[in-house]
Amino acid sequence: MKRSTTLGRMAGPATRRRVLVRAGGAVVAVATVSTLAACGGSSGGSGGGSSTDDVTIGVDSDAAANGYDPLLYGSAQFSFFAGLYDALFVSDADGKVSPSLVTSAENSADNTQTTLKLKDGVTFSDGSTLDATLVKQNLDRRSDATLAAYGQLAGSIKDVAAPDAQTVVITWNTPQADPGTALADEAGVIIGSKGVSDPASLKTTPDGSGPYTLDTGSTTRGSTYTLTKNDKAWNADAFAYDQITFRIITDDQALANAVVSGQVDVAGQLDPTTVDTVKSRKSVTDVGGTIFGFPVLDKTGKTNPAFAKPEVRLALNYATDRDALVKLHPGAKATAQLFPAAATGYDASINDRYAYDPAKAKQLLAQAGYADGFTIDQTVVGQPSDDQIAVQKQWAEVGVKLNFINATSTDAVFAAAQTQPLAFNPTGFTVGTNPAGFVAGVLYGGFMNLQKATDPAIESALGGALGGSGSAKDDALGKLNAAVTDEGWYVPLYESFISYGYDESKVAEPAISPTYGYVVLASVKPAS
């Protein structure tokens, strides 16, 4: 103290000014750092601990870019709309579908008609109540091509009738053994009377019966959507939080940063390149089920004689270096089988059995009479994907030429399915948790088998997988998986995973729909 007094007395005005400026600067610096450090980076995410007050979910695309008509959107936005709307059926974390707005569903003997009994006491935000006429009104919008949620359902339903207030009868164009799945989640969403009569009103105002309502005052379109608990909703108790904020963060790195630094409590879908960053500081949960690969559309040789030979189809499996391909896709896992790693019937030994072996591929091609190789035409929109280009090089090593034909529309690609032996979807095929269903509805009984080829091994295993139970069913699933690969009906490349980051100190591990990849909103709960 004495020293500073002496200095102050001895120093000239310039020195005193410098001292004051430096002291002032130091105070400002200390105050700033203290403020920053004290407040930390906690703004944004929920308050902390295991409070049920609020939770913030970061999502990678705008949840309501075109307004609040849930039918305009596919599954990617269903986490958000599940807060505002209810559906006839909902799928849970295991992919199991259960009734939501219905109390029972009964099929006719030939599965062409489904009778739904509706739940009582469901009220919408416009004050209307759930009844059969409203459900019919909703489903009668299915012919509107802009309603992405309906997808295949639009063409599946022949007629919807409302014989009484609580009963809806749906007549299907083709037998529908599993109506619950067809009417689940976004496809089964029911909008209130005002919204369904005047869909334009949904551009600004949601009209649902869900557990939350939109807090428009705290919502900035394209940036933040705030949902507030609707305690009067019939299923309000199934949702933990009083308030859910959806933050739209379209930049992949920013989304990962947001969960790492605590601005959001749950974030997804994470870009595969950011998963390790999130894992280093927070937790990550993921779900697989999307298998990238080449379905062999033609097993009869109608479009390309070589494909009638199983040896040729298997040669393509051996000629594919999957370990090289997954280097292009961080987080993906090489696989030589159709069934996802988490599905019953998955067999790790199949991957070893069909490991990259160009010599074996050449041997099989020679065995089939194609020692000099052959050419496969494949139509692509624009440019082929990185995977297709990589596989083209790999197959060229064994003499198989993958020849890309450029098309200007997806219609041309669909048309090419009739005349070409192989397909490729750059976004993969969702096999999900019900691979037997995928085989039955798509690979064997659907568009991946346009020539209606038959295979006793697949057919027998499929029968057991669909009709069996317990260990017999599990055994049949294993056989089905093996048969699909062994008979060369699919040339798998890798399985991709959908990842969500979450702050384990605030929320419990959220469940992800194994079929559609969105967070099951009811599963977002405080950490215990």
Partner: protein, 313 residues
């Protein structure tokens, strides 16, 4: 001075009008129509035509423009084709985000740049050279790279500040301050380097001026010569650079808004373009033009206040 202000005001109004005309014509010459956007792919030609009629799109262009201008002067920018929201209300919530970031980044780069540049000019020698070289390095760093680095160190490693998001001042002043720090610092690094170089050159030029030498000969204290007389002379180019800086930061906010997930004008313009939301797009252009024009106007007035030669020109 009043004549000068009147001239500048007239130019400002003319610029805004020109921007409105150009954006209006560009939007009207683009493919598609608001009816088609509003109704989506399912809209039949008849329904689209009816919607266009309802929106007045089929009226003569001049009539539409006069109508738009009439609404514009009343602050009505129309409604979004996508969700019917008021464009003016939406942009009013977004303008402060982009505006505050650009403003604070400009102010910070101004303060830091002037202090560093003037100090380098006054002290010269190695310090001056060091400042010149380091400002060159700062100038060459892309803003997004600086942002990523700041987020990594300050948010992810140290946990001092939020990595993303914007908090309204009225909701939480401390949170608001925190949410602005990293975006502002990100933009201020390059800005400060430009200002430092400008201030340095201006100050060195000023210190060699005849009137400064006269002041020295008259025994005026050195600090007064440097920080009052020379600095005033050097401040004219600095103020010009700061104005340009603000406009550049304001216009180039898209990258920073993406990086920090900020709900600003950049995000709004991106959304309007990708959704073909014509009225929203014109709205963003008009608001951005008004901000730029007002900034230029203030800048011109400030420069004129500092430099009598400008007023006389």
């Amino acid at each position: 001075m009043p004549a000068y202000i009147a001239r500048r005001l007239a130019m400002a109004v003319g610029t805004v009008l020109a921007a409105v005309v150009i954006s209006f014509l560009l939007v009207h010459s683009a493919d598609g129509s608001p009816g088609a956007v509003a109704l989506g792919p399912s809209g039949t030609p008849e329904a689209i035509a009816a919607k266009n009629h309802e929106l007045g799109w089929d009226r003569p262009l001049v009539t539409q423009f006069v109508d738009y201008l009439g609404h514009l002067v009343r602050g009505d920018l129309g409604t979004s084709l996508i969700d019917n929201r008021s464009i003016a209300t939406d942009l009013a919530t977004r303008l402060p985000v982009t505006g505050f970031i650009a403003l604070f980044a400009t102010l910070l780069s101004g303060v830091v740049g002037v202090v560093v540049g003037v100090t380098a000019a006054v002290r010269g020698g190695r310090f001056g050279k060091a400042i010149t070289s380091s400002s060159g390095v700062a100038l060459s760093l892309p803003a997004f790279w600086v942002g990523i680095l700041l987020v990594y160190v300050i948010s992810l490693q140290l946990g001092w500040l939020p990595a993303t998001g914007y908090v309204n001042f009225t909701d939480d002043p401390v949170g608001w301050f925190q949410s602005l720090v990293l975006p502002v610092l990100t933009l201020a690094v390059g800005g400060a380097a430009i200002v430092a170089r400008t201030a340095n050159a201006g100050m060195r030029d000023a210190l060699g001026q005849e009137h400064i030498r006269t002041l020295r000969a008259l025994g005026t204290p050195p600090w007064r010569i440097r920080y009052v007389h020379a600095l005033r002379y050097a401040s004219v180019p600095v103020v010009s650079v700061l104005g340009i800086q603000f406009i550049a930061l304001f216009g180039g906010s898209v990258i920073i808004e993406n990086l920090f997930a900020l709900p600003g004008l950049g995000q709004a313009s991106q959304a309007a373009v990708s959704a073909h939301d014509f009225p929203a797009l014109i709205g963003v252009v008009v608001v951005a033009t008004v901000v730029v024009v007002v900034t230029n106007l203030l800048l011109d007035l400030l420069v004129a206040a500092l430099d009598p030669k400008v007023r006389a020109a």
